[in-house]
Symmetry: C2
Subunit: 226 residues, 2 copies
DNA sequence: ACAAAAGTGTTAGGCATACACCCATGG
DNA sequence: CCATGGGTGTATGCCTAACACTTTTGT
């Protein structure tokens, strides 16, 4: 039965993953340095081919681990990019993904396979291979939109965090300042956070109460006004 | 150069299109009847393979014409489905699309290639081939969500329409009644509609004013409250 | 004591919601 | 003249947005 498909033109299916975190007050994306021409000078999203025995999701998760050293992450399919000449090596259709990790997971990023793995602020990207700039720009738009109506920010924070840190996630990705009092009022009224015992002291000032998400399972919540 | 990809496992890439319209007070989807086993008794979304020289978008639009006889339609990529055994004939990854057409375009649906092409209310679907039920359910969720924050309803209506017809699109897809006065107030306040000369008479009662969308280009507008 | 971030409440205005009657037409 | 859907306005409550001072800590 499988034979019947052989006669059709086959393309190669790959997956590319835009891995984001927020650190140093900026939204950053993880890139790996290309070794081969014609992209020797370029950086690229981690990714690779989808094998015959795995789904696109599984392939994305596999490349997340082997190419970027990231084990646990929020992962969501973004869009499928299929421009005919997007890859100079041949016809490659790419199923792109967004991954989010908390900034305290950052240590795991170097692997044997790729010496050059680095975070770049999305406002200051190097030359990118393929259509990866387009993918990143699309991913940022999706991320900003989802921030407003889901609890997706939980995937960018450690288990316990301060309200200030949560607010900074929003301000960084949305690119606008938010009123502290209104932000706290709104977030606390949604009952998606719970206070946990303990405070975080960061300098010569009052320590901040720690909070946690009641559920870190992604789901829709109207967090900011339209 | 192209040779270098030959060694990798190749999958076949297809596209499936969920074509929707609203008629007879119901959201309906266009299905075609399968001829081959093991899906002889089943209906399926129109679709087919993506060729080496076309993007997924182009393939979707091509199949829209050849398989379903639909020429002009709103078209949007939905999601890529990649379960390993979703197609019994072999590894086929499908890039699924949503298409929307106005209910006055309905005549074009029969083609030579497929005798059996029919609209089905989404509440009453026949047995479906592959994972097409899953695709349709996902498409409906996306459609309902986009109705609330875009002008996508314009793609389901003829150029000129009454406010009642517009409201029915919303009520049908969202599955809940809307207050007539509030709906009109809101839609007219958004300045996305313009009144056009002429009225539509449909029975023994006052004729309804005709309206048109100022722009039928899809874009975001907050139409209903969160 | 001072610098620096944490934490807290009120007010005004806009928007969504709820709700009932008159209008124009065909039969 | 009656049945049918088209068309309209107001009042209430909620939520958003704007805004400034006190508290707690380290140095």
């Amino acid at each position: 039965v499988k034979k019947s498909l052989k006669k059709y033109s086959h393309a190669v299916i790959a997956t590319d993953v835009a891995i984001f975190t927020v650190r140093e007050g900026a939204l950053q994306v993880l890139l790996i340095k290309m070794k081969k021409e014609p992209y020797r000078r370029s950086w690229a999203l981690p990714g690779g081919l989808i094998q015959g025995t795995e789904t696109a999701d599984q392939a994305a998760r596999r490349h997340l681990g082997t190419k970027a050293g990231v084990r646990k992450a929020y992962l969501e399919q973004l869009y499928t990019f299929s421009r005919v000449n997007r890859d100079p090596f041949g016809r490659v259709v790419s199923v792109a993904y967004i991954a989010l990790i908390p900034s305290d997971n950052l240590l795991l990023t170097t692997t044997d396979e790729y010496a050059d793995v680095r975070w770049f602020p999305v406002a200051d990207l190097p030359p990118l291979a393929y259509d990866h700039r387009e993918i990143i720009e699309y991913a940022i738009r999706r991320l900003a939109a989802k921030l407003e109506y889901t609890n997706i920010a939980s995937s960018l924070l450690p288990a316990e965090f301060t309200l200030q840190e949560l607010q900074q996630i929003y301000e960084t990705i949305l690119g606008r300042p938010l009123d502290k009092r209104n932000f706290r009022k709104k977030l606390l009224s949604l009952a998606i956070l719970k206070g946990v015992s303990g405070k975080k002291t960061t300098g010569a000032h009052r320590p901040a109460q720690l909070y946690a998400f009641v559920s870190r399972t992604p789901h829709a919540v109207q967090i900011l006004a339209p």
